[in-house]
């Protein structure tokens, strides 16, 4: 027996409309800013928006996985800073590019893994575990850099943040690639189902034979890894690793996930929504800059948008 296809499609359409709410918001923002500022739509500005958004978007993919398991990761900004500092320091000391980059990625993944380990082994709530890591990793960064930026990292390293493949900047290509992999895992791989199940009902997931501890280790490691990737891009772009890099980045990543409709209680959502959420935040920042709105007011606007989006979401599910 096969259920009528028609009904299946109907549900997909309503699902799409639900998702489309944030998409409609995004299109609305683009329309408003292109009317208010003639510079908004030109090629240079658009690639600039995307390149800036890519930093947050990449971290937000990791954050999506974490939040889907019902967790949260407050440490991504600090992990970004520490892994960047390690890479930069090693480059300064003359390590080969590949080794320095790998070291940064391993540090990021390792700190993320440690988050997961603390959560499953000592049963510490993710908020607390990653909050502690946020402080510790920032402290490690300051110790390692002695509070000074590490600069002069060489031309080859600059390619990651400033290079192009064809007409498209490398960070944008990386972002697209990471979203594609994230989408594949969540939609088409059993690992994704396990991630959703862990956040949907951890007891049921365990009884269904899922090793939820491994899933939790995986998502926090992934989040740390992607924070490190984001760190590589920004360090390469600025040709400098600042000890204060990524401060507050966790909040932008969480905002992107939440704007994208992923439920903070876990088990529902996905990376497509997160991409839209990250673009909304990126475009809002860029558009308000173009309109010469003071950064102080930008913060207020960002907060208001997040609140509005969540309020709409709640109304929908009621």
């Amino acid at each position: 027996m096969n259920l009528p296809e028609e009904k299946v499609t109907k549900i997909n359409i309503s699902e799409f409309l639900l998702k489309a709410k944030s998409l409609i918001g995004l299109v609305g923002l683009i329309v408003v800013f292109s009317i208010l500022s003639p510079r908004f739509l030109d090629y240079y500005n658009l690639t600039n928006v995307l390149r800036q958004t890519s930093l947050n978007a990449i971290m937000a993919v990791g954050m999506t996985f974490v939040i889907l398991t019902g967790g949260i990761d407050l440490s991504v900004g600090s992990i970004l800073a520490f892994s960047s500092a390690i890479t930069a320091g090693m480059l300064k000391d003359g390590s080969p590019l590949i080794i320095a980059v790998l070291a940064g990625l391993i540090i990021g993944t390792g700190l993320g893994f440690f988050n997961g380990f603390v959560i499953i082994r000592w049963n510490i709530p993710p908020f607390i575990a990653t909050f502690a890591m946020m402080t510790v990793a920032r402290g490690l960064t300051l110790v390692y850099t002695n509070g000074q930026p590490i600069t002069g990292l060489g031309a080859a390293f600059g390619y990651i943040g400033n290079g192009y493949i064809g007409p498209i900047p490398v960070p944008i290509i990386l972002t697209v690639l990471i979203f594609a992999i994230g989408y594949y895992i969540l939609k088409n791989n059993r690992l994704g189902r396990y991630v959703y199940a862990t956040g949907g009902n951890i007891q049921a997931a365990k009884l269904a034979g899922i090793n939820t501890n491994n899933i939790i280790l995986f998502v926090y490691s992934l989040s740390g890894f992607l924070a490190a990737i984001s760190g590589l891009i920004i360090t390469s772009r600025l040709n400098s690793a600042a000890p204060t890099a990524g401060q507050g980045a966790e909040l932008d990543a969480i905002a992107a996930v939440v704007l994208g409709g992923t439920s903070l209680s876990g088990g529902e959502g996905g990376v497509i929504g997160t991409l839209i959420g990250a673009l909304i935040i990126g475009i809002l920042n860029n558009g308000l800059n173009l309109l010469n709105v003071s950064p102080f007011y930008q913060l207020i606007a960002k907060g208001a948008v997040i609140l509005l989006a969540i309020a709409l979401d709640k109304k929908e599910s009621r």
Partner: protein
């Protein structure tokens, strides 16, 4: 209450106050110590309750209720966590309360206690009043009959299937604090029923076989090979599956779809070596199960929170079946579903028997466990108290063993 101190617990809501509503801790401490020593308890009133044993905690709670100076005291299974010595003390307290002229309503499934401490009895069954009378005018057997006493008019379409070889053997299985020395076997095509009262340890035995609890001692053999099971995943890989008694809390993920729920335990068999899911195979298997179990849904992508209890239960069962089990443990498979769906589940059990699957059926519904099982194992307070063949089983026999009688 775990984080409060004893005395804070005992006086919660009834603190002695000095002027300006300041709590009079000194007086509270004295009173708490007095009440506890009346109960024969010598414990430090400054200790946190969570460090006390379960029995001691229970005594603290009783002390608290005594302080209410209530005319009527309702005690709901007060001895469930008490040792014999503690129970004796409690009974002394109850007797002295009685002599003070207070009324006590004592709820218990322990026949011995009821005959020891009570004057009158009331029997309730399935939420209805059954009878009332004097304890000294009733026998234990009469009481059990009243507790059971329903008529067996429901349909139990049980089919006899020739039993195959032994599939599961459990030897001296124990988990400290939950149950001990559990021994039994299950054969291919056999339904072994587990009867007993709630809290007898049946679900815990099942979850231990399934790898959810760590066994403290004992051995589990599947097809004569000893199993090393550390978690449910190992059990599933070995062909053992468990249907949860609580589909809403740990059986299903209500906010996910029918399809996602149904295939969750079987994803390995419908994905390739890197984990890519074969969507068309998944869809085919799900639709097959929907047809086989007669599940009513508008789509395989329906959120299951929107489906009826009976359909949810069928999805949970389908999820078990998709793992191709050799042994299936059904924990309260018909709880909270309508008669029609129940009947379908009984027929499904018949089908599983014919396929040579071993079945453990845990049920608190006596007629069900009596009529569906080939053999009935009765548990009482973490021990097996009896094993009865289907042909010889009566509700009275099972109930008597379930309440720990001879």
């Amino acid at each position: 209450m775990g984080f409060c101190k004893d005395l804070e617990n005992i006086f919660l809501g009834r603190e002695y106050l000095k002027s300006f509503n300041v709590i009079d801790w000194k007086k509270i401490k004295q009173e708490a110590a007095k009440k506890l020593s009346e109960l024969g308890m010598n414990i430090n009133v400054n200790r946190l309750v969570k460090y006390l044993s379960v029995g001691e905690q229970q005594m603290v709670e009783i002390a608290r209720s005594l302080l209410m100076d209530a005319e009527i005291l309702v005690m709901d299974e007060p001895t469930a966590a008490l040792t014999e010595a503690e129970t004796k003390k409690l009974f002394e307290v109850i007797r002295s309360l009685k002599s003070e002229g207070r009324t006590i309503i004592y709820i218990s499934h322990r026949m011995n206690e009821i005959f020891e401490i009570c004057d009158d009895y009331i029997v309730l069954r399935d939420g209805r009043f059954i009878s009332q009378g004097k304890i000294n005018e009733v026998t234990r057997d009469e009481l059990v009959t009243m507790m059971v006493g329903r008529e067996l008019k429901e349909q139990y379409p049980r089919e006899s299937v020739p039993l195959g070889e032994e599939i599961l053997r459990v030897e001296n299985l124990s988990v400290k604090g939950l149950f001990e020395n559990i021994n039994f076997t299950v054969r291919k095509g056999e339904v072994v029923g587990f009867a007993g009262l709630i809290g007898a340890g049946r679900t815990e035995v099942a979850k231990t076989i399934f790898g959810f609890y760590k066994k403290t001692s004992g051995k589990i053999y599947l097809e004569n090979e000893e199993l090393k099971i550390n978690n449910p995943k190992d059990a599933i890989d070995n062909g053992i599956i468990y249907l949860s008694e609580d589909r809403k809390n740990d059986g299903l993920i209500l906010k996910h779809t029918l399809k996602e729920n149904m295939t969750l335990s079987a994803l390995k068999s419908i994905s390739d070596y890197i984990g890519t899911i074969y969507h068309s195979k998944e869809k085919y298997l799900v639709n097959q199960m929907i047809e086989k179990l007669n599940i009513k849904t508008s789509s395989i992508n329906q959120k299951i929170s929107k489906l009826s209890g009976g359909n949810q239960q069928k999805i949970a069962i389908a999820k078990c079946l998709l793992t191709n089990p050799k042994l299936i443990i059904l924990d309260e498979p018909t709880r909270g579903i309508d008669v029609g769906a129940k009947n379908e589940i009984y027929k499904l059990i018949n089908n599983l028997k014919k396929q040579g699957i071993g079945i453990i059926l845990i049920s608190s519904e006596l007629p069900e466990v009596l009529n569906i099982s080939d053999r009935i194992i009765v548990m009482h307070e973490g021990r097996i108290t009896g094993e009865i063949l289907h042909e010889e089983a009566t509700e009275e026999k099972v109930m008597l063993k379930a309440v720990g009688g001879e």
